[in-house]
Symmetry: C2
Subunit: 98 residues, 2 copies
């Protein structure tokens, strides 16, 4: 079973800078990313897609041109789970290495 | 300059079945696609991304797991352009060949 995280705990971990660039929006982890162009934006998405599939934990995301807005939440239960923080952390590593 | 298409013309062309599966939503061409799983959904997005980049005409799209919702519009002008119909047609071909 997925380890659930309370909003209070999530806020505290975000405040501590565990996953920089992420906030909370509608109870989900949320980050907006801007890239120099579409190719780089989609390149990040492709890398993140492989990571997400390997974790069997998938983002909700919106892309237009050089922007990618990402929401992370466990879809089968409410709230947030440890997997959301894990995927956010892995996406941050991808963003750092681009 | 991009050839603009009026909403009346767009509705007429959609009714004639020029780009099956597409409708109008908030003045944009719109299609919702469902795939058997995330990999196939993202595989379609990757193919469509390459097509879009080659046309220098990019979609607004949202993905969660096996669903991809696509909106097409020229971003620099209002309304719809010939490029939107062209990209929709190319995406339909990709969907047929998956």
């Amino acid at each position: 079973m997925k380890k659930l995280i309370s909003l209070t705990e999530a806020e505290s971990r975000l405040k501590n800078g565990e996953i920089k660039g992420w906030g909370l929006k509608e109870g989900k982890l949320y980050r907006e990313c801007t890239f120099p162009n579409f190719s780089l934006a989609f390149g990040f998405m492709a890398s993140a897609a492989i990571t997400a599939e390997a974790m069997n934990h998938h983002p909700e995301w919106f892309n237009v041109y050089n922007k990618v807005n990402i929401s992370l939440t466990p879809h089968d239960v409410g709230g947030l789970s440890e997997l959301d923080f894990e995927l956010a952390g892995k996406m941050n590593k991808l963003l750092t290495n681009l």
